[in-house]
């Protein structure tokens, strides 16, 4: 057996293999066997006359086969076989070997609209051009990244692809590249987006952020996973922070800083001197005043663009439904089981996710409940523990910084859920233990018999409403 090393750019044609084991007696046989296995690689290695393409060098145990017997070179079972590029260049212009694109078919905008093949439209222009408007439903892959990204956008090589650019020149070359890569049904939009526009068709414009927003959230905009699109999602998001104590302070502060557009601040309590050890939005002169109102005044100072809805109220069966209806995401910053179950049950009912956090002395835990098909709080903990095992923060005490740790993790999860990147802590409880300085994760599934979120429960509720 002989192993043939595949250079990086060709591995996509060989299922990603770095080395392919073969049983050849000559170099020519090795290539034939490789092509039998991976037919797509043939045009990249072989010229139409059956010889090696120029720019392709093959080495047998470090020796160029052109210095031996070419494709006839004999192989021993101990030989190593390597394909390598020939690389050259220079500052003098040379117009040979430019990729030909004469074989690319063109379609008109009318033909594109009328196609029954449900083609994927791919915009190969730059980011700047894309931002000024694109054909509705098009995918954007900058020409420079086409080879790298195409398989993430179009997995099926038999799918029809329509490439377009500004005027139709670049997209023709791009289409040729895709055809060479095995996307045989790729065509180019004649006249590009200019003709599309000139014929009176609509363009879509990606969400735009104002200059001030662009400046303020510049560090977000440069993260591809957030970007302008994500920042606009944050600005449109409606988040209720329930409980403005140790968890609510960091959660609301970072959500406001991140640009979450609508934030509800719900708490019935007044500020107590013992709160100041961890609830950093409050100062000694505020003792005795409403937490919700005081927090709103503080938060509005450093992000005046955000609409806060302070609410001095205790959630109960009578008001929770109306309050939750104004929000898309609930952040549970309460400190007792009664409130957590109340919040969970109503959120499940309204189909809204809950970011959960809790602290106890040196321990903090964070999770996300009711997200998509994920478990709810009752799946995790069907009944509240007996009171003697669940002392409140006031009775048990808490290290002042712990709600900060949990609150920032909660704010992070909230932003992930809103923008839609990464993997939310759904079905997972992240537990931080300050004493040992360790983090562990507890996984838990959705409970098919959950008294609140199970299918059976839903069916039952539906039956009842029929009556």
């Amino acid at each position: 057996m002989i192993e043939l090393s595949i250079p990086l750019p060709l591995r996509r044609y060989c299922n990603g293999a770095e080395r392919v084991p073969l049983e050849p007696t000559t170099v020519g046989e090795a290539l034939t066997q490789l092509i039998d296995k991976y037919p797509d690689i043939e045009p990249l290695l072989m010229a139409p006359d059956g010889g090696l393409r120029p720019f392709v060098n093959i080495f047998v145990s470090g020796e160029d086969i052109r210095l031996r017997d070419g494709l006839e070179t004999d192989l021993k079972s101990t030989d190593e076989l390597e394909i390598l590029p020939a690389i050259a260049g220079g500052s003098e212009a040379l117009e040979r070997d430019r990729p030909a694109s004469d074989g690319v078919s063109l379609v008109t905008p009318d033909e594109c609209d009328a196609s029954s093949d449900n083609p994927v439209l791919i915009d190969v222009r730059t980011d700047e051009e894309w931002r000024l408007g694109y054909i509705p439903n098009a995918e954007h892959i900058d020409r420079g990244f086409l080879e790298l990204r195409i398989d993430q956008v179009v997995a099926d090589k038999t799918r029809m692809i329509v490439c377009y650019c500004q005027s139709g020149v670049r997209s023709k070359l791009a289409a040729q590249t895709l055809i060479n890569m095995g996307y045989g049904r790729t065509v180019s939009l004649d006249g590009g987006i200019e003709r599309w526009k000139a014929e009176g068709r609509n363009l879509e414009v990606p969400p735009r952020v104002s200059d001030e927003m662009a400046a303020r959230y510049q560090r977000h905009l440069t993260i591809p996973e957030v970007g302008a699109e994500g920042q606009v999602k944050l600005a449109n998001a409606r988040v209720a922070v329930i409980g403005m104590g140790g968890l609510g302070c960091p959660v609301s502060t970072y959500l406001a800083a991140a640009g979450v557009g609508h934030i509800g601040l719900v708490d019935d309590d007044d500020i107590d001197l013992s709160n100041l050890q961890r609830q950093f939005l409050y100062t000694p002169d505020m003792v005795g005043r409403s937490k919700a109102m005081s927090a709103e005044a503080e938060l509005a100072r450093f992000n005046p663009t955000i609409s806060f809805q302070p609410l001095k109220a205790r959630l109960d069966d009578g008001n929770i439904r109306d309050i939750f209806e104004s929000y898309d995401l609930i952040v549970d910053c309460t400190d007792n089981f009664t409130a957590r179950y109340l919040i969970n049950d109503e959120a499940v009912h309204q189909g809204k996710p809950v970011v959960h956090g809790a602290v106890y002395r040196f321990d903090a835990q964070v999770s996300v409940f009711g997200l998509d098909d994920g478990p709810c709080y009752r799946c995790f903990l069907p009944e509240p523990p007996p009171p003697e095992l669940a002392p409140s923060c006031a009775d048990a005490g808490v290290l002042g910084v712990l709600p900060g740790v949990a609150g920032l993790l909660m704010a992070t999860e909230a932003i992930k859920v809103i923008v839609g990147f990464g993997e939310a802590l759904s079905g997972r409880m992240l537990c931080y233990e300050a004493k040992s300085g360790s983090v562990r994760e507890v996984k838990f599934p959705r409970d098919p018999n959950c008294s609140v979120c199970s299918e059976r429960q839903n069916a039952f509720a539906a039956d009842q409403s029929e009556v």
Binding site: E92, E95, E229
Partner: protein, 147 residues
């Protein structure tokens, strides 16, 4: 939205490329870039290996990488992957020439670095991702911890 291509390089790569530029001056230097491509598509360059410019004519304006040396370097650096190539433009711009793009055309999918001295500020590498008909500039991603 597709995340842009992310490239990181080892700390001494810049210095090594500058040295290769200076050593070859006024000729073009050339060589191979070794590193890895992560599963998430992030590229990393660990080292640059200078190889002989075996171009048959004026080597101040063109280069060709000695094929035998490339093969030896690949075998020597087998803990890394061959992720790309570099060459210098001793008196030219930091942009690829038409010849650079045309000659690399049959091998899209590599990193290409051009070391050039622009605005008299001394040699500096510029990184591109080569496709069949253009070289896309690739910024080197730096971790900004805070400011």
């Amino acid at each position: 939205m597709h995340s842009p291509f992310a490239l990181t390089v080892s700390a001494n790569l810049d210095e090594d490329l500058k040295r290769l530029f200076d050593e070859a001056f006024p000729n073009e230097c050339c060589g191979a870039l070794f590193g890895s491509v992560g599963r998430d598509g992030d590229w990393h360059i660990d080292k640059a290996v200078g190889l002989t410019n075996c171009f048959g004519g004026d080597r101040t304006k063109a280069f060709a990488i000695a094929p035998q040396e490339l093969s030896q370097a690949v075998r020597r650096e087998r803990t890394y992957d061959l992720v790309g190539f570099f060459h210098s433009h001793p008196r030219g711009s930091h942009r690829p020439s038409i010849k650079d793009i045309a000659e690399a055309g049959p091998w899209p999918g590599y990193i290409q670095a051009i070391i050039a001295s622009i605005d008299g500020k001394g040699p500096k590498p510029f990184f591109y991702f080569a496709t069949a008909d253009l070289w896309q500039p690739v910024p080197i991603r730096e971790l900004i911890l805070d400011d």
